[in-house]
């Protein structure tokens, strides 16, 4: 692929800053997981920062972004406060989702980051629905839907692409092809490994970009978004990338060789992009180190904030199961934990 030229210095610097922040944030999140400050599953996107920043930076503020359980980076790139993301990982009340969702379920409405989702393939229909809203309301907003190579084997992929093409919805489906669905390599889960071609049978044209190259990813996603927005039709973009870490924290990685990982690590998007900014005189070495220092400081502060934030109080357990109101004032439950929903249990006062 012809090497893309750099964006303006300020933009280039901001991209490197964001990629660096994501990297340092996720490294720290991994440490916090090891210290049992973070529970559940923790899926890191380390190695995929160029794909994340390049595509998210192609969005307008009003566009919708939706991702998977591997979405810390998407939230951070979209502008969600690092401390709120970290607090969510800690399961604290000040987390973006008040500790209800955890790592797999980030969400930030004001920034139109429409969430991380735990069900593989489950977010494609939602994305098409969001694009339908834009179409219905006649806005110029587009939707960017991020999912993985493994997700392209789910039934929702074909169903959603067909509907999006049939209804000419302004949505870009971005398959982050990191070569594996968990421990299953691309060629072992997909009969056709050129995933960007998979939409053609449903009327969705495909593009491919180098997901290790933030400029190529940005350029390609921007063009895809332009087509979706102006020509009112969906586009499928395949970003070729690699996750340096295991699928989640508990992954012996027996399904791939150290050599393969090393080869990809040699193309670390932070290093290659950072080197280039230095070579092309956008940054001096000290400035580059400064970026790293600032990122670490931000992450330190995020961890401190998460530490200091309180856990959600027990009485908040039932908050937001429903929008309460005239119709749902509470509901029957046999559940001793459900404050206020024990109407009619008078006979069990003694219980």
């Amino acid at each position: 692929m012809a090497e893309r030229s750099l964006p303006s210095p300020d933009v280039a610097r901001e991209w490197l800053e964001t990629m660096t922040l994501i990297r340092r944030f996720e490294e720290r999140a991994g440490e916090m997981y090891a210290k049992a400050k973070v529970g559940g599953f923790l899926h890191l996107a380390i190695g995929e920062e160029a794909t994340i920043v390049g595509s998210v930076r192609a969005l307008r503020d009003q566009d919708y972004l939706i991702s998977t359980y591997r979405s810390h980076g998407h939230a951070l790139a979209r502008g969600t406060e690092p401390e709120k993301v970290m607090a969510e990982l800690f399961g604290k009340e000040d987390g973006v989702c008040r500790g209800r969702g955890g790592s797999m379920h980030m969400f930030d409405l004001p920034r139109r980051f429409m969430g991380g989702y735990g069900i593989v393939g489950g977010n494609l229909p939602l994305a098409a629905g969001m694009a339908l809203t834009s179409d219905y309301l006649g806005t110029q907003d587009a939707t960017l839907c991020q999912f993985g190579d493994g997700a392209s084997n789910q039934g929702t992929f074909g169903e959603t692409l067909n509907l999006a093409a049939l209804w000419r919805l302004p949505v870009v489906f971005m398959v982050t092809n990191n070569q594996f669905g968990m421990g299953t390599s691309l060629e072992r889960h997909s009969a056709v490994t050129d995933l960007f071609k998979r939409g053609e049978g449903y009327g969705v044209p495909g593009m491919r970009c180098d997901g290790m190259d933030v400029m190529d990813t940005h350029h390609t996603t921007q063009e895809a978004l332009r087509q979706a927005r102006e020509e009112r039709r969906p586009v499928l973009v395949e970003a070729i990338t690699y996750r340096f870490r295991g699928h989640s924290m508990a992954d012996p990685e027996e399904y791939r060789t150290k050599e393969q990982v090393a080869q990809w690590r040699a193309r670390d998007p932070l290093t290659t992009f950072g080197d280039r900014l230095v070579t092309e005189g956008v940054l001096t070495e000290p400035q580059r180190e400064e970026i790293d220092r600032v990122a670490n400081e931000t992450v330190d502060a995020a961890v401190q904030f998460a530490e200091d934030s309180p856990f959600p109080p027990p009485e908040s357990l039932y908050d937001d199961v429903y929008v309460l109101g005239d119709q749902v004032q509470g509901w029957y439950s046999i559940d001793e934990r459900a404050a206020g929903v024990h109407k009619g249990e008078d006979e069990r006062e003694w219980a």
Partner: protein
């Protein structure tokens, strides 16, 4: 007005009232709907608001969720409840969970309509009654209207509510007639059971179409067995108006639940558990259940007839509660 027309009127009124309300589903437009519930709406509102979809249940429900999260009020029709299993993931893991798992940042004002029921010899795979599957799910509202008036009032309430609603209609009821308030502002709010018939001897709770069977059985009990049954139609299962049921049982001391679905883990099981928990000392007999048979619905008419509840079984179950006195 027929049940089918009442639903149609509710859709028309709410679409007129609110520009963000729109319909999606298989053959709801050009074909006018498999059961004609959406008849005339495409012509009246156009194909932006009445959208025929491909056969992709999981995705059309999921698109409804996405549209609802971003400001619209989609009403998705699943041609029948039998196909809802294909959309279960979007209904449960997405529609019902999204608000809670994102800490209340977003709401999902989605209505998923679907008719259920046996009686038309549609055989296995096409005769299910699954209100019991959906009532388990926190985050959902579940309606089971049995009259044209409730069909209209509850559907209007469902569309205006900010929670995801599984709205269960019944294929047999579509053709049934009843009075319907034509006041466009009349809504029937969820969580209010209807006492269809007052009585002092036994409480019969009928679900969906079986609320009708229960009333017929009650008339028969009065005429032939001198038993005055109180018939209650919960109207909605989430939220559930247990108060009304308990108040009745505390007077009658006997309770029978009639439903069309499978016996294990059904609505009857749930109500039996709740009633014996809340009104234990008031019960003179076990809470009885009359349910669909524990099998896939057979096609053959005589088998189908005995595989779901009819008046005689309700009468028999009620009389059984008196045998031990």
């Amino acid at each position: 007005m027929r049940y089918r027309e009442a639903l149609n009127a509710a859709l028309r009124e709410e679409m007129t009232r609110d520009e963000t309300v729109f319909l999606m589903g298989e053959d709801i437009g050009v074909f006018q709907g498999a059961f004609k519930v959406t008849a005339g709406l495409l012509e009246e509102f156009g194909d932006k608001r009445v959208r025929d979809t491909p056969i992709s249940e999981n995705t059309i429900v999921g698109m409804g969720v996405g549209a609802a999260m971003t400001g619209l009020r989609p009403v998705v029709e699943l041609m029948t409840i039998n196909f809802s299993l294909l959309a279960m993931d979007q209904i449960v893991n997405h529609a019902a969970h999204i608000r809670y798992m994102f800490g209340g940042q977003v709401k999902v004002p989605l209505v998923v309509r679907m008719p259920q029921g046996a009686g038309h010899q549609l055989g296995p795979t096409h005769s299910h009654s699954w209100e019991a599957l959906f009532l388990q799910v926190p985050g959902l509202l579940v309606a089971v209207p049995s009259t044209p008036a409730d069909a209209k009032g509850l559907l209007k309430a469902a569309i205006r509510d900010d929670n995801p609603v599984v709205f269960i209609e019944h294929e047999y009821l579509y053709g049934q007639r009843g009075d319907v308030p034509d006041d466009a502002d009349h809504v029937q709010r969820f969580g209010q059971a209807a006492i269809r018939r007052e009585g002092t001897d036994v409480t019969i709770v009928g679900i969906s179409r079986q609320a009708v069977t229960a009333q017929r059985a009650a008339d028969q009990l009065a005429a032939e067995h001198d038993v005055e049954a109180e018939v209650i139609d919960p109207r909605t299962l989430r939220p559930l108006d247990l108060d009304t049921i308990l108040a009745s049982v505390r007077r009658t001391n006997r309770c029978i639940v009639v439903e069309e679905g499978w016996p294990h883990g059904g609505v009857g099981a749930n109500l039996a558990a709740l009633v014996q928990e809340q009104a234990f000392d008031h019960l003179d007999a076990p809470v009885g259940r009359v349910t669909g048979a524990d099998l896939p619905m057979p096609y053959s008419k005589p088998l189908e007839e005995i595989a779901y509840p009819h008046e005689p079984q309700v009468v028999q179950a009620v009389l059984a509660t008196f045998r031990d006195v």
